[in-house]
């Protein structure tokens, strides 16, 4: 995996440089606060939470789609869990899976609409973002007549989804690691990973090659729905309540993390490792700012610039990857050993297997 020679050509290299840069930047300006375990936990927690959404969203984006609906998917998952356990008093064992299922279901709906109508996923998931937000508000108010539902989280859920390690590191970090392994496994190790790259590269060609493009698209949207709902229920387990307006900021945060992580906006290129770096970069900037003593408003400026620089440098690194690879070869070295004059004879060397 880590071949030094080809490392600079890997999609995650630029993302790694970005993370390293912001880490050194904040370690310098935020010294010594920035390296205390509390601050490290602070940005790791943010990264872990965002990572639960960013990783499956990265797969959607590598496949050439966007998912802007994650904010409402998160709220729907969280609210379902909170209403079932907190309001109706049913056990976690029902509420939590139901929350995950609702998020996954609306993800499925996204995928179904995108593949059936051939509309751009930008529009479909934007509609879902607003439509589902309205639905969550409406249903929550109708059933509970509030917009905030408290939950008595059971010990079992607290020790897995919610809760903190040493009172600082959220359990979400463990979920993030699992999510990273699963997503990387799918993309690198399974044949579905190949289909996802192909789908993002050229959908028509992928379909012509026999990839069930519609099915893959639907699965990927279900994945991001699941990821969003997973973060939703995790936050409920952590904070003991769910709000209808939760999660809206993750719509853009996830896109920033994925793009800074080196995924091509138009699809076909990217890596989960890069997205992990992108997520950490985002988290370091948004949390590191507090250890510098500067006004936290500056974090947004840095993130904005970073996004721009990331896209520019990604383009450069991608060009690097597309250019010549073997150092030995000169540009002039043409593939044919046998010279081919314009009036060549075709039949002679026709079957030189």
């Amino acid at each position: 995996m880590l071949d030094l020679k080809s490392m600079t050509r890997r999609p995650e290299f630029a993302a790694f440089v970005g993370t390293l840069f912001v880490f050194i930047f904040f370690a310098y300006f935020g010294w010594p606060t920035f390296v205390t375990s509390l601050v490290i936990a602070g940005w790791l927690n943010v990264a872990a939470e965002l990572g639960l959404i960013a990783l499956p969203v990265a797969l959607v984006m590598i496949a050439g789609h966007l998912d802007l609906s994650v904010g409402s998917l998160l709220a729907a998952g969280a609210m379902t869990y909170a209403i079932i356990t907190g309001y109706f008093g049913l056990p976690d064992i029902i509420g939590l899976p139901a929350g995950l299922a609702v998020g996954t279901f609306f993800g499925f709906l996204n995928g179904l609409i995108v593949t059936k109508t051939k509309l751009s996923s930008f529009i479909v998931t934007l509609s879902m973002l607003f439509g589902l937000r309205g639905l969550v508000f409406g249903v929550t108010r109708l059933t509970t007549s509030t917009v905030l539902v408290s939950v008595e989280v059971s010990e079992m859920v607290r020790s897995t989804f919610g809760g903190r390690i040493y009172k600082t590191f959220e359990n979400a970090i463990v979920l993030w690691v699992i999510m990273a392994i699963v997503v990387s496994w799918i993309l690198y190790k399974t044949i579905y990973g190949n289909w996802i790259f192909a789908l993002g590269g050229d959908e028509t060609a992928a379909r012509a090659a026999g990839v069930p493009t519609d099915r893959v698209t639907i699965w990927l949207f279900m994945g991001s729905g699941f990821g969003a709902a997973l973060l939703g229920v995790t936050q409920v387990a952590l904070f003991g309540s769910a709000q209808v307006s939760a999660g809206q900021s993750y719509v853009f945060y996830s896109i920033i993390a994925v793009v800074v992580g080196g995924v091509l906006l138009t699809g076909g290129y990217g890596s989960p490792v890069g997205v992990i770096f992108g997520t950490m970069t985002f988290a370091i900037v948004s949390q590191g700012i507090y250890s510098t003593g500067w006004d936290s408003d500056w974090a947004s400026l840095i993130l904005g610039l970073l996004l721009l620089v990331a896209v520019l440098s990604n383009n450069t690194f991608r060009r690097l990857a597309l250019s010549a690879t073997d150092k030995a070869e000169t540009p002039k070295a043409k593939p044919k050993p046998n010279q081919a004059p314009s009036e060549f004879t075709v039949t002679k060397e026709a079957t030189n297997e």
Binding site: I191, D202, A205, T325, D326, E329, A340, E343
Partner: protein, 272 residues
């Protein structure tokens, strides 16, 4: 080359109408194994529509398609693939940002067992792709991990053909394979086409280039405005006749007369 044998594909009186406009009008063709059928015609003559019908992207409005004599609709790209019909597009129909070893196997990935899981066998994929490319004369490729986009146009075209041949295609449909290539690369691609033909594949070559067509073609069909204007075997027409047909006949003759007047020269020299 017995003319009486059953063609692998026969297209019989196929028409394709898009919103009142007949992109294909009563076209019949025979595609034989071990032969190169050149599909000639100007832009908009219906060549693309015809190959999309063969590739399962379009369904004919009327007419039928037979495979080895049996009536057999090609209702999806998957159907086409199952029937051994493989279409290669102008730019190789591949994925520029994918590694060659990934792109080559899209939809047909080799797998190996890894504990309880079945995983994509990238090592094997890399070995196969390097071997197949080398066999096609692209000796520069020694690493299956290089991105498709780093290959030249001809190399991409060859990789797409290699892919089709490797997966046992019986019919190779090539859409303008040499249109974007230089002379040497075109020659290489044409040589690969001959290799495929000699292996017993049927090749349908769509091209604008009369020279390329005459170099490798065994049989020719000319489409004009969705209709088959002519259909002939190798040697039955002169280059001038073919060029005229492709350009719509009279128009080309007039243009040539005009040009001859302007430059004081005769018709452009032809090598055939």
């Amino acid at each position: 080359m017995n003319e009486k044998r059953t063609p692998y594909i026969s297209v019989e009186n196929v028409s394709k109408v898009f919103g009142g406009y007949a992109a294909l009008n009563d076209v019949s063709l025979e595609i034989h194994q071990g032969e190169v059928l050149c599909l000639l015609g100007d832009n908009g003559a219906g060549k693309s529509t015809l190959i999309k019908v063969l590739a399962g992207f379009h369904q004919p409005t009327s007419g039928i398609i037979r495979i080895e004599g049996r009536e057999q609709p090609i209702s999806s790209p998957r159907d086409a693939a199952a029937l051994g019909i493989s279409t290669v597009h102008q730019f190789g129909g591949t994925f520029p940002l994918m590694a060659l070893e990934r792109s080559f196997f899209v939809g047909m990935e080799p797998t190996k067992r890894w504990g309880p899981f079945k995983v994509f066998d990238r090592k094997k994929a890399g070995e196969i792709v390097v071997r197949e490319m080398q066999a096609m004369g692209i000796t520069r490729i020694t690493d299956g991990g290089r991105l498709v986009g780093s290959l030249s146009g001809g190399e991409r075209q060859v990789s797409a053909i290699a892919r089709a041949v490797f997966f046992g295609a019986k019919v190779l449909v090539l859409d303008e394979p040499t249109a974007a290539l230089g002379v040497k690369e075109s020659a290489h691609v044409l040589r690969i086409i001959m290799q495929a033909k000699n292996r017993g594949l049927a090749v349908v070559l769509v091209t604008h280039n009369v020279t390329h067509a005459m170099t490798v073609g065994d049989h020719f069909a000319v489409l004009i405005h969705g209709m088959k204007a002519d259909d002939f075997a190798k040697g039955e027409r002169t280059r001038a006749e073919i060029t005229d047909l492709m350009a719509g006949g009279e128009a080309m003759a007039e243009l040539e007369a005009e040009l001859a007047e302007l430059s004081g020269a005769g018709k452009p020299s032809t090598s055939d």
